[in-house]
Subunit: 190 residues, 2 copies
DNA sequence: TGAGTTATACCGATCGTTCGGTAATAGTCA
DNA sequence: TGACTATTACCGAACGATCGGTATAACTCA
């Protein structure tokens, strides 16, 4: 068949994701996306006929897949609840580069594209995440309602610690959050 | 001497702030800022010779002043610690329109302007806020180190709840955060 | 070869910005 | 009081640059 791509889809997603996470949707220009991927604009349009919006959309979708594989699946595993949570923390640490990289869910939820193509996907990811977290806590014997509260708080603190870390110019808040997360979720039940 | 302004400085700041909080720095266009303020682009440049960057910078500065007046001053008041925290919650509820509006500190800390003109101001605001919060808790008898931890957690949860609320399309998380804030800060000392 | 991939060149639109000029107020002096 | 001037606020039109996007040709390799 044809010629092989100089950048495989996975690398492509990673590099596009990096740009969107750094500067958001509006901040990301095709020039930046081109430089980050090593592909010229026209080549990007070959891979993403839908343009910048499709790129962001697919990056968001692949983030959803990543969450499913690296976070939700381990959370639904059969180890001890505390171990599953600790595994999640490990994965999060890698995903956010120890707090250096922002969260796509925050960076892509600007109001410019109000009720736009991203809002639904973002909401779904948040919901799936919280549900899986609540399920783990339920396994650990936490009351269902309390489990949901703690799950939301966990996600909220993740987002907040990333925002705060970026604002303060240090990754310490994020790292401390990760450390406190298991106890935060399974506090009275360890 | 000259002609009186059709929009006073305070209104101007409020309307510019609204745009930056909605769509961030890169997302905000002169066209949007012009429409939001009722001033034509050229008139905006009369008020802000430094252009868009000066607008964002002054909006950020005026947010710092607002924090000083409406948050830090009450926190340093002479009422009961719990009352001071509750007053802060009231002010925050108004400032963020019950969770409908995002935080400038989050929206202006994109990496596009890395180490740019906003980072220092953002950091200062975060620091002043946390210090004032920690002081209130110290007044309530909370251990100094613990007070600082809780203060940071408070700010982190504020940011996180705003991000989460926006992502989920509901203000409930923010409102619940506000409700839980006094107990979160002064939990064991009420 | 010929399908698949990348590159060069280009497009209209919009970006942030600037400039020349006009509208409106305040002070001056008759 | 009322023309004149100074000063400030505002706006229409245009700037160069860059935006996202699109042709079409050149290259690569099964």
């Amino acid at each position: 068949m044809g010629r092989k791509a100089s950048v495989d889809d996975e690398q492509l997603m990673d590099r596009l994701s990096c740009v969107f996470r750094d500067v958001g949707y509006e901040g990301a220009t095709l020039a930046m996306l081109s430089e980050a991927t090593g592909l010229k604009k026209a080549s990007l349009y070959h891979r993403f006929p839908g343009g910048k919006e499709q790129m962001a959309r697919e990056v968001l979708d692949s983030a959803g897949v990543w969450l499913e594989e690296h976070i939700l699946a381990p959370l639904k595993g059969d180890g001890a609840p505390a171990d599953r949570v600790k595994e999640m923390a490990r994965q999060l640490d890698a995903f956010y580069s120890g707090g250096k990289q922002a969260c796509l869910l925050n960076m892509l939820s600007s109001a410019r594209i109000h009720e736009g193509p991203f809002t639904k996907a973002i909401k779904q990811i948040f919901e799936a995440w919280i549900e899986a977290l609540a399920a783990v806590m339920a396994d650990a014997g936490v009351d269902k309602r309390e489990a949901r509260n703690r799950a939301e708080r966990g996600v909220i603190m993740l987002q907040g610690s990333l925002v705060f870390s970026r604002g303060m110019g240090t990754t310490r808040p994020f790292r401390e959050f990760l450390k406190s997360l298991p106890n935060e979720l399974l506090g009275g039940e360890l």
